[in-house]
Symmetry: C2
Subunit: 562 residues, 2 copies
């Protein structure tokens, strides 16, 4: 069929095709056979199905180089419906959220339906479950688990972000065992701010990428030393603007795009990888370069040798757009099958999660007193920064009331609590946080990276207790509470992380939560997303786990009292 002797299965005729190998736009027809590209060039017009794509630009299907499905709260089928519509045809998943709750069986179950979903979902095996010794996960992933998953899980390609970079740099035996379990595969990194000799040690251990760069200087140092820089634009962490000079000055070598964490409403309404591309282009990135980073480069980093290009021998993942500004797909083909047209969500067979993944939230019944804090004078305060998952380590004097240290909304000082929820110990870490803007009420979630404890931010202890109780009732998810009343919620009964509902319903609930949060005074964009990172003890500077405050820079627990 490539020879043109017989009709192809599908011919896309009359369009312009971006060659990711030269950056040129080619006037070319595309012939597809058995889900792969057979021919690109003038005159491939004989096929069982001929589609006129004149006026369209054909791009390779977009690849998300690193993402956590769990942040979308969607099962893979519902995620695929929206992702395919936006032209994302391949994702590289690190399912370490579900792994913290449900272990290796959780990882396998998350991907169980992948073969039936048009989307290609590859697995980077979660490396740091729990993320650090300060976090109370339900389950662990050890070196043996990594080796087993790499050996027999379909689509397993490498080792996911080695977040415990201090352990790698220190040559910790467990960390080294995990790296060795992935020998011969590629290893993702996660090393915010790591520099100099520590960075060299991390790389010498075999790590090859990083998606935590927040400044040009940081990314440049890492790239110079061979790291693939994954330029991330998530719902909370938005790095395209800071990192784009890296591409403008030194080209696209070793650069790719990823979303890492995207909220369901943003996914449904604004886009996915196409939104990252659009953002880059809007900031001055040549369109072909932006697409290359989201296709060929992502594929090459991940050693997916048949992905990332519209070229003979490659999988026929094709996105038709009308311009190189909006990147709004008008048609999307996955392995030669039309999966979205005119902006409609893809039609994907449903996946249902088994019962053993449910009822995972175990906390004692809590009351306002459980959130009481007493410090003398000044306290450490987590300083949240919009658009970043890196916090600042602040110090301030809490409010005082009846001998207790309390929130003070007038100074944007809220309380934060993290509660162990896998074993029902009720172990609680307490602290203060600035940056949410809450005037009243509380926000709570079982999305609390990475152990997915219960996390709650509030200015009223009673509302905090109500929120936590509600989470326990619905089996996990997210709630907003004001004046003792649940204002909005998104149940996530699958491991306390994923919803059973459609992407439309989940997005609506997510919007409802954001609306409720705004009513409570929240000024932070994506406050639930921001909150979910405040327990992540591997991203600087100051975080809270159920064991207390963690100074991530020094990688040790520190007292609340400053």
């Amino acid at each position: 069929m490539a020879r043109g002797d017989e009709p192809a299965d599908l011919a896309l005729v009359g369009g312009r095709v971006l060659s990711v190998f030269t950056g040129e736009m080619l006037d070319a027809d595309v012939a597809v056979v058995d889900g792969s590209v057979a021919g690109v060039g003038a005159g491939y017009r004989a096929a069982d199905e001929v589609v006129d794509v004149s006026g369209s630009i054909l791009l390779p299907g977009f690849i998300d180089g690193h993402m956590h499905l769990e942040t979308t709260k969607l099962t893979l089928d519902q995620f695929a419906r929206a992702a395919l519509r936006w032209g994302t045809t391949t994702v590289v998943l690190d399912p370490h959220e579900i792994a913290n709750v449900l272990g290796v069986p959780g990882i396998r179950s998350l991907l169980a339906g992948a073969a039936d979903v048009a989307l290609d979902a590859f697995l980077m095996v979660s490396s740091c479950v729990p993320a650090s010794p300060f976090e109370s996960s339900a389950e662990t992933v050890m070196a043996d688990d990594i080796a087993a998953l790499l050996a027999d899980e379909p689509g397993a390609i490498g080792l996911a972000e080695m977040m415990d970079y201090p352990a790698v740099v220190a040559g910790d035996a467990d960390a080294v065992a995990k790296l060795l379990a992935a020998q011969g595969r590629h290893i993702d990194g996660h090393a915010p701010g790591l520099s100099g000799r520590g960075l060299n040690a991390y790389l010498a251990a075999g790590v090859r990428s990083d998606h935590e760069c927040t400044t040009y200087e940081e990314a440049l140092e890492k790239r110079r030393l061979g790291m693939w820089v994954m330029i991330r634009e998530g719902s909370a962490a938005r790095n395209v603007e800071s990192l784009l000079p890296l591409v403008l000055e030194h080209g696209t070598t070793n650069c790719l795009l990823c979303t890492d964490d995207r909220e369901p409403d943003e996914l449904l309404e604004h886009g996915h990888v196409n939104d990252v591309i659009r953002r880059a282009v809007s900031l001055g990135c040549p369109p072909a370069d932006a697409v290359v980073m989201a296709t060929l480069n992502a594929a090459r980093y991940h050693r997916l040798h048949e992905h990332g290009a519209i070229a003979p021998g490659y999988v026929a993942d094709v996105v038709a757009v009308e311009d190189l500004e909006r990147f709004d797909p008008v048609r999307v083909w996955k392995r030669g099958r039309l999966v979205s047209e005119g902006g409609h969500l893809a039609d994907v067979p449903p996946i249902s999660a088994p019962d053993w993944m449910r009822a995972s939230v175990r906390v004692p019944r809590m009351s306002a007193d459980d959130f009481a804090i007493r410090v003398d004078g000044r306290a450490r305060v987590i300083g949240v920064q919009p658009g970043s998952i890196v916090t600042r380590a602040l110090v301030d004097e809490p409010g005082r009331s009846e001998g207790r240290s309390v929130a003070d909304p007038s100074r944007d000082l809220a309380k934060i609590a993290v509660i162990e929820r896998h074993r029902g110990t009720g172990r609680i870490g307490l602290g203060f946080v600035r940056g949410f803007g809450l005037r009243r009420g509380a926000l709570a979630s079982t999305h609390a990276h990475d152990a997915h404890t219960v996390i709650v931010v509030g200015v009223d202890d009673h509302d905090m207790a109500v929120a936590v109780r509600r989470l326990a009732e619905i089996g996990g998810g997210q709630v907003a509470v004001g004046d003792g009343t649940v204002l909005a919620e998104l149940p996530c009964p699958i491991g306390g992380l994923l919803s059973d509902l459609s992407v439309e319903a989940v997005a609506a609930s997510a919007r409802g939560l954001e609306h409720a949060a705004a009513q409570l005074g929240a000024t932070l964009p994506s406050p639930f997303m921001a909150m979910s990172f405040l327990a992540l003890s591997v991203v600087p500077e100051l975080k809270l786990t159920d064991r207390g405050l963690v100074d991530v820079t020094r990688f040790e627990l520190v007292p609340l009292q400053a």
Copy 2:
């Protein structure tokens, strides 16, 4: 040691390091541990051995993306002595010359000493032995052989040039079986002039590179469709000048460098990959781009994930040069070991070939009458072009003498003969050739791609017979004969392809042969190299095998009579 807590094995201090990831020159020290780079940055100065490289530029060791060792006539140890001196630290070999003579055992034997030679020698398993049905090889390499070599030969990484591109394009069962035997590995191509739908079919079959592009337009079409373009600068085929615009206009994506075939004297005196880099730079290529193509890009194409950069976790192959024009290495480290300094050849343990590889030249005793030709009127003539292995299909009237068709030096018309030499059949193909400039005598060789028959070009039948007889006596190699006397020779008793001698001695003999050829009137540069390609029935347009003239474009035997 990367952390700087303990001294490294080796520190290269005070130099400038080229980052192939950004194209920048970094002021950085380099720490080496266990043959790998542990650290790159300021202050790696504590080591068991500290070398001051101030004033030097440190480049990653050069990689030859595609070459045939046999063309150098050197065993791997002798080749390594010269290649390392020029900064080539990794070669990707296709040993299809020896395979045509000695089969799979020949391939294994050629690489047998590789572990002891400092050079990294990777194997692309020869795919087309014989190169075509028109060639009379002694041995074959079939799909099963390919699978076996890929499974158990150390350093086997992929399938070497699929030269029989018509068979691939036609979907020939044997060709498909070979491609399938290499499934999951990368596959080199060889498709001079292939374009349009045929090219698409070749790529759809899984081929990913080509080193036979001779024009910008050809290379651009191939690159647009995803092919890696290996820009070749060999002794006979010199493509850098024609193909460099590809890099200047569209960057280095999918471009790498190779030598393919280099004569021993050129290797010893002018250089190896460094000479290709120098050539590219002299023609206007930015130096960093030229180096990237000879290092990182070659490594990435070949999926050698720890080669091609001076960066932590990469093998410590480092070339120190004083400028980015001459690319004349002043020091070379291979896996952290100094292997060349001040232009001295590397010290490499000797490899000796076993006896079963010898005495492979079997031809009946020949006389002048065996070379007699009789055609009526016009004959097909092979037109040799300097600097290209593509010939032209000419037609001309041979000279006449005593009823026979003879050479006519006054019109640069020589005779050419190709003689089966593996089974002693004496089967001979006869023809005419233009372009050598021979005034008298004959040149003969058992280097005759790819079946390595005997090939002889001459203007005197008696000298042609003397030359062939001498080749049989010395077990193969190359000879120049004038007036019935052997003027120069290079014995290659190992399979009729490789010498037992040092690179210095082989280079001296090669020079002697070229000098003798010049005395006989030859005006062609590298006449023996040019001659060796005249039996290669997979490079257009007109070639000669022991079965007769081959019209490569039509891929069929054609009569001498025009």
